[in-house]
């Protein structure tokens, strides 16, 4: 054989020599820092040879390979191991392997202080599922209603919004797909809580932060409610709903390539039938009527990119009278007509391997025409001497724009850096017309520019930190602020973790008290949060305990300036401290899922026209909820129950003696109890291959008719006081919802084999 051919032969047949040789035995043990690892795949790279570790972490295999080869060990949750070994074709090799844990989203600790999440994500903070929001009995299908069964939120029934840990409803801001939502609730009437505008079915994820929230959000002293809208629907479908309060219908179309969808819905709500059966405290000349429509489209731009648009329109109207507290035999009249439109466009995209981008804009136009006055017993409008101020027209027209851009860069492992900016613009016009036709026009234009940066740092699977800072510039008060945020989470065991959070939060003075009595002296209101949390989560049980301290500085103080509460300075202050427990258990009682929340709150504040620091009227020392859900499979029926409790809240009559405000009267209302039940009957569940779905709902709020008192209102002269109670003791809701899936696949034909 010529040398070249010989060389070729050996290059091309490297295995020939080993054909006759014996084998090498390779064995050893695989473990991580704590224990032997079972099921680890041991491989001699690019050969068929290898083994899987047994229950004591041991492996052993024979190979006839020779020379330098790479031994690998792989197991889910661990970093792959590689070692070059020399095989002689005989003897035995012992190779013990130590695997290092891989930091992954699934195994890493979750930064969860102050956070409740309702989503499908498997995370410690996800104590609720999206469907829980809809099936919580006392929520009446309202997002914030369900959140009120979690610790931290107050059971305030006389006005809408989330009152969190001693904070007002204005201290909670709501975001959809990253951008701010103004007028999240329908226009309010005095002492009647209005509902949220948006259906819970629009959202796949809800994050409710009761404090210490991310630097991506701002302008909320207490809380952020962050809603994430649903992605593409599973299929084209139409829906129809009929209930005691109205009708609604919708259509969602999914494109053939399943990359885009569009849809729309319309709902007509008329409370006349409900109010005919359930007597209301108010006497309506125009019962509440709402026309709401929405349109949407979603486009998948890449495997991870998505553009979403949601547009909402609403027109509503109501007008009523109720007995006047100021003058016996006369009636107070209140009417409001609202037009609201909200548009949200967002785009998320992966830019290269490590970069992601989120962009969003939202626009809100809101118009409220409020008419207030007095009527005599025959429902004729009257203006009474000394009570002329009760007759007025108030036209409010607002435009809001919010734009946000965030870049996210993946760092080592799952650590990441986020930064970006936000621009917020508001233009609020108010036209106040007095009883005598005198007009007081007002307009407030303002903007806030913000930049922020935040980093999630995973040091190990057991230790993670979130560090962020937000910088804001407000044109309204011509001031800037820098708000640091910091949180830390440590995994105590596989199921338990401890978290800490700290942060400073700033908020503009509320525009209703502006412009200030004297220009240029106002600053941001400020809150500092300290939170410590312990959480233990198994597949079927969740226990969460949280301690918090919140310090308020620079709250707005108001004074009576030309008959109107106006901001005079930032001398207000306050604090809130307490602890909260949450327990959810899906296992102990068979087929019953329940949760219990308890909050203890100790809060005082001196703000607005308070003469001194005291517990505000929206705060209760003890708040608790029990929510129970049971699905009875044979009956296809879901039973939901909820009990909400709040200990007595204080009430005050604050009066002005010409130079100072003082408490003319104060007291405490009785404890609040509310038992609610809901029955959902789902006859189509489990029907084979069904595309159509129907749900019948019957829900009753305050089923035992327990008297609920929210506070007291006082007559103008301060001589009379009356309880603030809900419009009716009991409310009953009956409805049916149909969903028709339209699927053009050949499935039905193919099944007929």
């Amino acid at each position: 054989m010529k040398p070249i051919a010989k060389t070729l032969f050996f290059i091309l047949f490297p295995g020939v020599t080993s054909l006759v040789s014996a084998q090498t035995t390779i064995s050893g043990k695989v473990a991580d820092k704590k224990k032997p690892l079972i099921g680890v795949s041991i491989t001699l790279k690019d050969t068929y040879d290898g083994a899987t570790t047994d229950s004591s972490g041991k492996y052993s295999f024979k190979t006839s390979e020779k020379g330098e080869l790479i031994l690998t060990a792989t197991s889910v949750g661990y970093r792959p191991f590689e070692q070059t070994i020399r095989l002689e074709g005989k003897g035995a090799l012992t190779i013990d392997i130590l695997l290092k844990e891989e930091i992954t989203e699934l195994s890493a600790v979750v930064i969860s202080a102050g956070i409740f999440e309702a989503s499908d994500r498997k995370r410690a903070a996800a104590v609720l599922n999206p469907i829980d929001i809809v099936t919580t009995a006392s929520a009446n299908g309202d997002i914030t209603g369900a959140l009120k069964t979690l610790p931290g939120a107050q059971q305030v029934g006389e006005s809408e919004g989330l009152f969190v840990r001693g904070g007002t409803a204005q201290e909670t801001k709501i975001f959809i797909d990253g951008t701010l939502v103004n007028n999240f609730f329908h226009s309010s009437s005095p002492n009647i809580a209005s509902y949220g505008r948006f259906s819970p079915f629009l959202f796949k994820g809800t994050v409710f932060s009761t404090g210490g929230y991310s630097a991506l959000y701002g302008q909320a002293l207490s809380s952020a409610l962050i809603l994430e809208s649903i992605d593409l629907p599973d299929r084209t479908s139409a829906s129809l709903g009929v209930s005691i309060i109205g009708v609604n219908g919708g259509y969602q179309a999914l494109s053939k390539n399943k990359k885009s969808s569009w849809g729309g819905a319309y709902s007509y709500t008329n409370l006349a039938p409900a109010f005919a059966i359930i007597k209301q405290k108010q006497d309506y000349s125009e019962v509440p009527v709402f026309h709401s429509g929405d349109i949407n489209f979603r486009i998948k731009t890449s495997s991870t990119g998505m553009i979403k648009y949601y547009g909402y329109f609403n027109k509503s109207n109501l007008d009523y009278t109720e007995k006047s507290i100021d003058s016996l035999g006369y009636l107070d009249r209140f009417g409001v007509a609202n037009f609201n439109t909200f548009h949200n466009l967002s785009w998320k995209e992966k830019l290269g391997k490590r970069w992601k981008m989120y962009a969003g804009i939202s626009y809100t136009f809101n118009q409220d025409d409020i008419k207030a006055g007095m009527k005599d017993a025959n429902k004729n409008e009257v203006v009474l001497s000394g009570l002329e101020f009760k007759t007025f027209d108030l036209d409010l027209t607002s435009n809001y724009f919010n734009g946000k851009l965030i870049f996210e860069r993946r760092l080592k492992g799952i650590s990441m850096l986020r930064f970006g900016g936000e621009y917020n613009q508001s233009d609020e016009k108010s036209d106040y017309t007095m009883y005598n036709g005198q007009k007081f026009p007002g307009r407030l234009k303002a903007n806030i520019k913000s930049v922020f940066a935040e980093s999630d740092i995973y040091i190990t699977n057991d230790l993670a930190a979130k560090i962020g800072t937000r910088f804001e510039q407000s044109s309204l008060i011509d001031k800037t602020n820098i708000a640091p945020r910091f949180s830390l989470a440590y995994k105590l065991s596989k199921q338990a973790q401890a978290s800490l959070a700290y942060g400073i939060f700033y908020q503009n003075p509320e525009s209703r008290y502006l412009p200030p009595a004297s220009a240029g002296n106002l600053v941001f209101m400020k809150a500092t949060h300290y939170i410590a949390q312990y959480m233990k989560v198994t597949n079927v049980r969740t226990f969460r305990a949280e301690f918090f301290y919140k310090k308020y500085d620079n709250l707005i103080k108001t004074g009576l300036v030309s008959g109107r509460d106006q901001a005079i300075n930032n001398d207000g202050f306050g604090d809130a401290k307490g602890f909260e427990f949450f327990w959810r258990d899906k296992k102990t009682i068979k087929n019953v899922d329940y949760w219990i929340s308890y909050s203890f709150l100790d809060t005082k504040r001196d703000y607005l026209n308070f003469p001194y620091a005291t517990m505000p009227n929206f705060a209760a020392t003890h708040t608790a909820s029990v929510v129970v859900k049971k699905f009875v499979q044979p009956w296809k029926m879901q039973f939901n129950g909820a009990y909400n409790y709040a200990s007595s809240r204080p009430y005050y009559n604050i009066r002005f003696d010409g130079s100072n405000y003082y408490f003319a009267d104060m007291g405490k209302v009785q404890d609040y109890h509310n038992f609610s039940v809901a029955f959902n009957y789902l006859p189509s569940i489990g029907k084979e291959n069904t595309k159509n779905f129907v749900v019948y709902v019957l829900s009753i709020s305050n089923v035992f008719g327990i008297k609920q008192v929210y506070g007291y209102e006082y007559s103008y002269n301060g001589l009379r006081k009356e309880q603030i109670v809900p419009p009716s003791r009991i409310f009953v809701y009956i409805g049916a919802f149909f969903s028709f899936g339209i699927d053009r696949s050949q499935q039905t034909v193919d099944r007929l084999f």
């Binding site: 051919a5 290898g50 499935q747």
Partner: protein, 221 residues
């Protein structure tokens, strides 16, 4: 002369490896496939899945190795999730297997498109995902599993495994959710009939499921 030897040796080597490599591959595969029917534990399936993965990664272009690796991982995951409360969430146990199986079946699909057997495993993976958290996932993974099964049936209506899986679903689903032991029986019988005529392309091509059908049909006696 040099040139001739070179060409000859190259030709020789080429035919040698074409004939020999598959034989080594086929032998290794045969040995492992023979173990599938007698494997009934998570550990057993994991061991097999790892073995198939080694073969797959060494060969890189044999879809069958990836296919069996995915099949064994899906089976291991299904066993890991079995027992206890059916409706309870156990995704932390089952998802790692589903993730592995997913990656492997994707590689198999790159090598063999429009293959009924691959859609059978994809159906198994979707069902495994659903098993991880039935209450929250049945809306997503239920229809997906059905779509995969429909596709498997479309690609090869004579594939008996389509009816094995369909029958299993019918067998285990409670009646109020559309399950039916009687309808399951019809499907198992159909599968059994198809096994009599089904001829795998080679003896390492998928041919599992016959013993399951035997087991299920024995439940009716």
């Amino acid at each position: 002369m040099k040139k001739t030897i070179f060409i000859l040796s190259v030709m020789f080597v080429a035919s040698f490896s074409y004939a020999q490599m598959p034989e080594k591959f086929v032998k290794a595969m045969e040995a492992k496939i023979a173990l599938i029917d007698s494997t009934h534990t998570v550990e057993g399936y994991t061991d097999l899945a790892n073995a198939f993965e080694r073969i797959a990664d060494a060969e890189k272009n044999q879809w069958l190795a990836y296919y069996y690796a995915a099949f064994c991982n899906a089976s291991a995951g299904t066993m890991a999730g079995a027992g206890g409360d059916m409706m309870a969430a156990k995704a932390d146990k089952t998802d790692p297997y589903a993730d592995k199986a997913d990656k492997q079946i994707k590689k198999a699909e790159e090598l063999a498109k429009n293959n009924s057997e691959i859609f059978i495993v994809k159906k198994m993976i979707a069902t495994l995902r659903m098993l991880g958290d039935p209450m929250n996932r049945y809306m997503t993974y239920g229809p997906e599993a059905q779509a995969m099964l429909d596709e498997a049936k479309k690609l090869n209506p004579e594939n008996p495994r389509v009816y094995v899986l369909e029958g299993q679903d019918k067998f285990y689903t409670p009646e109020q959710f559309g399950g039916s032991k009687e309808e399951a029986k019809v499907l198992f019988e159909k599968a059994q009939k198809l096994y009599d005529t089904f001829k795998p392309e080679t003896n390492i091509h998928p041919n599992w499921g016959k013993s399951q059908v035997g087991y299920f049909l024995s439940q009716y006696k």
